[in-house]
Symmetry: C2
Subunit: 638 residues, 2 copies
């Protein structure tokens, strides 16, 4: 098994800036409030019942299971996040909660290792009865990921022991052998966990089991088809209305899948596992299929905010190529997180800034939008255009919330965003065979082995970035970082190395005090989409660096579909220190079509008036009460 490329989180410290502030707020606000939510202590929020389910399973309380069949996973994702947080900023409240959970998991686990409170507590539920829908393998995955994090961070073997006992049960139960079930999870996730468990334990069998799940998927005869027949299912679930087995990425074997299909979160968790296995096993078929799926996703299925999943009412599915409606985007927070997970794993296969840029796009837009500025309200669905009056009247927008909420009945996203941000060190830096690669431009300090590196940046708001080597290994070592189209200097002398796939890879004897500096170009960009993206055709969006901008009714009044931009109108990036503790807004001139007197007019050019533009970063939208929001603005040639 190759060495993991991620550094321990304690080795990567975010030292301020936008990301550092968000990560800190997740630790001091989000995780604590989420623990309250999981314990049903947030007035007015939908009760989670998730910890209570564990207590009942552990015998500490009487009562019945409540929640969804994947309710356990909310706790596991939260615990994983709390472990990551503890690795760089221990907190007694979080530590007590972590200990409480370890204790509960130990006692809730059945003698043979089984641990899924839904199946354990629901009288009518039976193990392995509906692997397609009931998420027990998905919950196992999240639990195992949490246990691996717990072991790494605390050094305690307790939770890892629960996890290996569970994994051994799965390993006995599933597989190609006699008496085993030749199945795979309805919602991929366990595959990722088993790879981590293999690394944590050094036991190859868990990775082999992950590979079995990945390669068995979609093979004929299709397990989910036969399983549904056994259940005498006559009407397939509504979310598989159009996509059939592709909803579960189980229509053909993964190596034959050529376009992203079905439930977007499931898809990218699966594709991420394919990348993991390609790296661990060197399997070129998994690598090539995954890279092909990536190219197709980025070319035809990616929202400008770095989101995926365009068919909301149909079950957060990938839709047809270029079908990216803005008012009915699903763009689930979890899906963007999954896209980051996939991109990060592809970076391990090829150090290519194409992956990093998508990762960054998802992070600064879709993922950050999932968490409110007060750090305790969430979006699950992330629309690219909202008109609350319409959203409230349209059944096909019923999944769209016009304001972030304190919790959800289906609460997968909140702990996932806490988990992602608390583990962002894994995405910022990685080991390469010859040194280190820095992926994100943000204030941070890396202390790993003989390396000690400090980065200063106010990215994505301003251009200056400095990477300072405080200490380095003896001898030659590689430091890789994105060129980002900038003119880099090493100790004020121009770097003449040509970037490889967007990364500058500098190999030298690094000296303490070595300074890499650049001004990253951050012009305001008018971005157009492929004209087959109907919601964006004839429209432009504004970006600066990785940040997508949006306009809000609070700044422009109602009727944002009347707003447009002239091609020559100057646009300015302006630091607004008053707004949410400081963001860069875009200002300039927009035009607004004046309201005509009738619904339809013939042969009249629209009347335009110039109005001031104030666009805010998309991820900040909806933090000033309810109102309209839009990304795509009308494009006026003159």
């Amino acid at each position: 098994m190759p060495t993991p490329t991620a550094l321990p989180l304690a080795a990567v410290r975010f030292t301020g800036g936008l990301l550092g502030e968000r990560i800190e707020r997740v630790g001091t606000v989000t995780l604590l409030r989420q623990w309250d939510a999981l314990n049903d202590r947030i007035p007015g929020a939908p009760p989670s019942h998730a910890v209570r389910n564990l207590r009942i399973a552990a015998g500490d309380e009487e009562g019945a299971f409540d929640g969804l069949c994947f309710q356990d996973s909310d706790v596991a994702k939260w615990l994983e996040a709390a472990c990551y947080r503890a690795s760089f900023a221990p907190d007694p409240t979080l530590a007590a909660a972590m200990d409480e959970l370890v204790d509960l998991y130990e006692r809730a686990q059945e003698a043979d290792g089984y641990l899924h409170t839904y199946t354990q507590l629901k009288p009518e539920a039976e193990r392995w009865d509906n692997l397609r829908d009931l998420h027990e393998l998905y919950c196992f995955g999240h639990f195992i990921e949490a246990a691996v994090a717990h072991g790494e961070v605390t050094g305690s073997p307790r939770l890892l022991a629960v996890a290996t006992k569970l994994a051994d049960l799965i390993d006995r139960t599933f597989g190609p052998g006699p008496g085993q079930i030749r199945a795979y999870p309805g919602h991929p996730e366990l595959e990722l966990a088993l790879v981590k468990l293999a690394r944590a334990t050094g036991d190859q069998k868990y990775q082999d089991l992950a590979e079995f799940f990945v390669r068995e998927r979609g093979r004929s005869p299709q397990f989910f088809v036969e399983e549904a027949q056994r259940r005498q299912e006559t009407v397939p679930p509504v979310w598989a209305y159009f996509d059939g087995q592709a909803y579960w990425q189980a229509h053909v074997p993964v190596t034959e899948q050529t376009e992203p299909r079905g439930h977007a979160v499931r898809a990218v968790y699966l594709y991420a596992a394919m990348a993991d296995l390609a790296r661990e096993t060197g399997a070129t078929d998994l690598r090539e299929s995954g890279e092909r799926l990536w190219r197709e996703t980025v070319a035809k299925h990616l929202y400008i905010i770095g989101g995926i999943g365009a068919d909301g009412p149909g079950g957060e599915n990938f839709s047809a190529p270029y079908d990216l409606p803005d008012d009915r985007s699903y763009a689930e927070t979890c899906a963007a997180i999954g896209l980051m997970m996939w991109a990060r794993r592809l970076l391990d296969l090829s150090l290519d800034a194409g992956y990093t840029e998508v990762m960054e796009r998802a992070l600064y837009n879709n993922v950050l939008a999932g968490l409110s500025q007060d750090a305790c309200h969430y979006f699950y669905v992330n629309p690219l255009a909202v008109n609350p009056g319409e959203t409230r009247r349209r059944y096909d927008c019923k999944m769209v919330k016009t304001q972030r909420v304190p919790w959800f009945g289906c609460a997968c996203c909140p702990p996932n965003v806490a988990r992602l941000l608390s583990s962002l060190g894994h995405y910022a830096v990685s080991r390469t065979p010859a040194g280190l690669a820095l992926h994100l431009f943000t204030p941070l300090r890396v202390e790993h082995g003989d390396w000690r590196i400090e980065m200063q940046a106010a990215y994505p708001w301003s251009e200056q970035v400095e990477i300072r080597v405080v200490a380095a290994p003896a001898g030659e070592a590689e430091l890789a970082f994105r060129s980002a189209d900038a003119a880099w200097a090493l100790n004020d002398a121009p770097v003449t190395v040509v970037p490889t796939h967007g990364y500058l890879r500098l190999t030298r004897r690094w000296q303490p005090g070595d300074r890499l500096t650049a001004e990253l170009p951050l012009p305001v960009r008018r971005v157009r989409a492929h004209p087959r993206v109907t919601s964006a055709a004839g429209r432009v969006a504004l970006m600066r660096g990785p940040v997508v901008y949006a306009v809000e009714e609070q700044d422009h009044g109602p009727g944002l579909s009347s707003l447009g931009l002239r091609r020559e109108a100057p646009l300015h990036a302006r630091w607004d220190g008053e707004a949410w503790g400081g963001v860069t807004v875009l200002t300039g001139e927009a035009v607004r079509e004046t309201d005509p007197k009738t619904l339809y007019q013939s042969d009249l050019a629209p009347t335009l008036e110039t109005v001031p533009l104030r666009a805010i970063p998309y991820a900040w939208w909806g933090n000033r009460g309810e109102g309209e929001m839009r990304i795509w603005l009308r494009d006026y040639e003159s």
Copy 2:
């Protein structure tokens, strides 16, 4: 009761032209095929079972009810249409079917007058058990309308006797008196029928009952709320997810309703009944409320094709003002027919071309689109933009069919379009207090009383129209017709009378041979929508006269969202005699944005190429196999 303004259909003969041809095809093809469909004789089409339900209720067959709770109405609408057809073009097959139905209805009716096969045959169904959802009053309405038509056309009292017996049962059962049910139909329709029955029988009580239903609606306590409580309903039906009681137009009394709400067909049937009652009773409150609802509908809720109902997945509801998406339009054929019915009744209150123009817009676009060129395939939902690849993948487009079909499981539209076209004489001409009003420009001959008038026109394709008085009453009489912004001549001398609300009202002693002639202006128009219509903002549609044009993939290749029009590009109307027996197409230059290499591009103006444009009348779309279709094209300033 005032005299009906509609003439007997035999008095208005369509003598060719677009409408005449469609009406003829309905008689020679559509009605015969629909009789086959209602008798389950169309291979591959969903079986109707509707006639069979009647046979079972009549005791002629054994079996169970099948179909929807409003299946009876399909037969009744068909019978009404067949009667209309028989009034001007008798056919032995249709006559035999009509006789068969009269016989079945007589024997299916219960002793006390009840006649609703769903309730009669379903063991679990009970009368008046769910007036909100089960459509028995709606079915009664369609049956009574059919019976009135049958009596008028055949002179036979038989079906009218069944209808009055049924209406008497309703009159005993519903009303404000002791022991009566203070309710109203879940789907308005019966109100329209009772007004017709009052006219046909001269019995005022039926009209009073219609007025009771209309005025009781929405009063507090709300009947449907209490009824749902009696049924112990906990989850309201999905179609009332957002709209609540407004889905049934039962949120407030009709005189307090200020915007169109809820299920679009129900809404316009109700509003049409309000107009009927306003005329019959002189009630100004019903008139004013109805006119206000009309203004609001036309100003904020009307698709360019004359369609209504924007929230398809939510149950064909009116949505928020200006929310008129093009790919998820419901624009049900029945709703456009209902809009015509409403407009026609408002014309009886005020001879105003505003109503006629909407009626015409609905007719030439949405309604005609509902019927295929082969006259036996149908659209229920009428989208304004279709991309079959997307439509097939999006759950929120699952109601959209990309091709017309031979029948539907829910088959309200096919017989309704046959009924509308077979009774188009009612819409073309009406009596005014002092003479006649001609509403449509189409070849026709009116023979009514002392009037004999012939109109020649190739509208909407060409400009020339001639109205010739062949015979006229002695003394002064009024002939009214739309000015349509044309310069009219009477016997080649300019007409100098100023139009009133868009109608020229000429009162004189008409002489045989008097000729009114005009060239109706039919320029190709670039039409823009209010910029709050997001799907149309920054886009233009093409119209000529009342005809909306669309582009199809068959003429332009895939990717129609890439197509646009330059403001100065010349456009031509061209008669294409080869296309579907002759239609006027629009030709000229369009521009197409060339496909860029990536999904998003920064700071690059789109590359445009000039391509030939060929736009066909919207109502003809989808008659050349499956493909993309669009109405709203991108608007290029230069």
